[in-house]
Symmetry: C2
Subunit: 407 residues, 2 copies
């Protein structure tokens, strides 16, 4: 039996003929998997094989959560209403077991390798591979004295990096969200194609993009036992604070020196930016405001400083971050870009948090860019659009930072 | 609820305290997942959450296939007997649904993102990250006129590549197996660490390693409908032949020119090698023997030419490949290394196929290396050892090709 496997596997993808109709296999599928598939109305059709299950549910993290219907052939079926464009995470719940769909590429999200389906956006190509020069995404391993481990980072180098050997480049540090990892920005976000396309059309400066792993624990620090501890508990807050500061130290003491010694960077604050989504946005505000000597551009994509804070915790630009913004003119001279964004369909609390931050920055006359992604949720289409708006503003003369619009 | 998710996800990995005992979480787990775990006797303990399932089975592809036991907490449990060292693919079957384990990193195998558990090999570090200079693994996208698509390849560049800017390097093309993809050799195989360690100890020449996607279909060629066609059927053979020749053309007409124009290669047959595992070994023999003007080193890891052939199809070195080996002395002068290997615990048919090839090459006095990996199956530990034996023989003076042993 087993020797046959090799030959069977060679034949993979030949065994299912495409079925007629408007539905087409999603571009996020593995090899020639026919499901999930998407039609012209952006409906998604899922098929999942579970012949002996008594209940199978579909669980779109931002979308339908519903029972699937059992078919005569042992496959369970579900078709969504029209979905927003972009990449939608989902899992399947088989008799209580939450699992991924073998037809989908695995994307690291929700702290596991989950499924997702790509719903195309009409007339939109900025995040697709096109016939333009392509940069490289390089896997790097660096040793961190902060964590005492080898750590993995992905580094985008722009198309000319290997041919223009005397050129040095500015650097954007770009962080994933909670439950995701350093693979998110390229696998889910298509950041490499977004940069390729922006650079090819001269809308963004050629730059290096560093995507690091946002989880860090100090050498010798044990895994805290947080069983039974509620979210706002002191223990939980402490654990998050520990992770945040360990990441800050790893980034400033290990990662940045490694990048600056490994790549032809412009190694100064004028040519260093940081942005991140959700948890990565919070990390961006934490790290950059503690180290304004290192960064001069910063972006929070659906995540920033204290966006959930209320009452006395609410961010007051006059006093926040040891008064870094207390003098708006001086701050704007020092920080060339302060960028925040949110999708209009994100959960109210998130949307209001970012909107309030925007209002309080306005009130305090802190120059910043506020971007709303129309019709998208706390999902990757929001963050792709964020990057599309954010990247062209980086490392540009003052006027273009505010004016630049990629579309 | 959903806004809380961000914060919940930040706390991931803090919620489970480590349990005492000899069992430790596998290095192949996601983040801080506690299961699967492995003990000092190489036993693997799996836990899988499926509270409402009536039957859950564990399915090691090369190992135990058995019912799991339901625990009081809704988790299903299974502990294997001692396993061979290396990375073992597995899936879990929940009421008939074959799925991956959320605790495991996802590895592309069996044409899906499957689970696997790493069982350490005692006193063995050649495939682990060590305190030596590390090369990079670069993601490349190249456009292929053969397939009419953008194709993805991974390229290992040796540690000094970005600093010794006048050096040019020989190239090894290294192919994955059937059901896997171009990510296999680094994610599962740890080829980058194997090369880093071999290069650091001067056991292997610094080289570029190209890992391409082995599936190819020509522009305009539709997916053949092979439903109901048995493995040996003319339709199935034709489909495989089509894929094999499309890959050959993609490799020789698109990939190799792209690599030679993108990297500082030594672009000639004397400095170009190809090897592959299983299906990739078959592809290696197919491509290299058709293009001996392009390659002078070749390796088949648990897969080579016609290893399943019987009777008149059996490989006769005198006549095979249009007589390329008919003059053993001339062949050995032209092909610097012909390398074949197999694990001693591989399925009989595979083992016998490679052993027969070895015997017929011996009989025909064709110089070659035959390597047997002790105690390992048709799995990644065999192929890691193959690479450890194979790579040091590449691009070396004649004597060292036969003599070189990494261990």
């Amino acid at each position: 039996m087993r020797t046959i496997t090799i030959v069977t596997l060679m034949a993979t993808g030949f065994c299912l003929a495409q079925e007629p109709g408007d539905f087409k296999p999603a571009t996020s599928n593995v090899l020639d998997a026919q499901y999930p598939r998407v039609d012209g109305k952006s409906r998604v059709e899922i098929r999942f094989k579970a012949p002996d299950a008594s209940k199978v549910r579909i669980n779109f993290w931002s979308g339908p959560k519903a029972d699937m219907d059992k078919q005569a052939d042992g496959l369970w079926a579900f078709t969504t209403p029209p979905m927003a464009p972009g990449l939608h995470y989902y899992t399947v719940v088989v008799d209580g077991a939450e699992v991924s769909d073998p037809g989908s590429t695995a994307y690291f999200g929700g702290s596991k390798w989950a499924s997702a389906v790509e719903v195309p956006e009409a007339a939109t190509t900025y995040y697709l591979p096109q016939d333009v020069p392509h940069g490289q995404v390089r896997e790097e391993w660096y040793h961190s004295k902060v964590t005492g481990t080898w750590r993995h980072a992905l580094v985008y180098t722009p198309p000319a990096y290997d041919t223009q050997l005397k050129d040095r480049y500015p650097v954007l540090y770009l962080q994933h969200g909670g439950g995701e990892d350093e693979s998110g920005w390229t696998r889910q976000g298509k950041a490499n194609f977004i940069l390729d396309n922006l650079i090819a059309s001269a809308k963004a400066k050629p730059m290096i993009v560093v995507m690091a792993n946002g989880y860090a624990r100090r050498t010798g620090q044990s895994v805290p036992d947080l069983r039974g501890k509620p979210l706002g508990s002191p223990e939980m807050r402490q654990a998050m604070q520990d992770m945040m500061t360990a990441f800050e130290d790893d980034m400033t003491q290990a990662l940045i020196p490694f990048i600056d010694s490994t790549f032809r960077t412009m190694a100064n604050r004028e040519h260093r930016a940081m942005a991140g989504l959700s948890m990565g946005g919070m990390q961006t505000f934490h790290v950059t405001f503690q180290h304004l000597d290192l960064f001069s551009y910063l972006g929070g994509f659906s995540g920033a400083a204290n966006v959930f804070a209320t009452g006395s915790d609410k961010l007051d630009p006059k006093t926040a971050f040891n008064g870094a913004m207390s003098d708006p003119a001086a701050f704007s001279k020092r920080v060339h870009l302060l960028w925040i964004g949110v999708g209009t369909n994100e959960p109210e609390r998130m949307k209001q948090g970012i909107e309030k931050l925007h209002a309080s920055l306005d009130e305090a006359k802190i120059r910043h860019v506020f971007y709303e992604s129309p019709g998208t949720d706390h999902e990757w289409q929001t963050w792709r659009r964020d990057l599309l708006d954010f990247a062209p503003r980086l490392f540009q003369p003052t006027g273009q930072r505010a004016a630049a619009r990629a579309k």
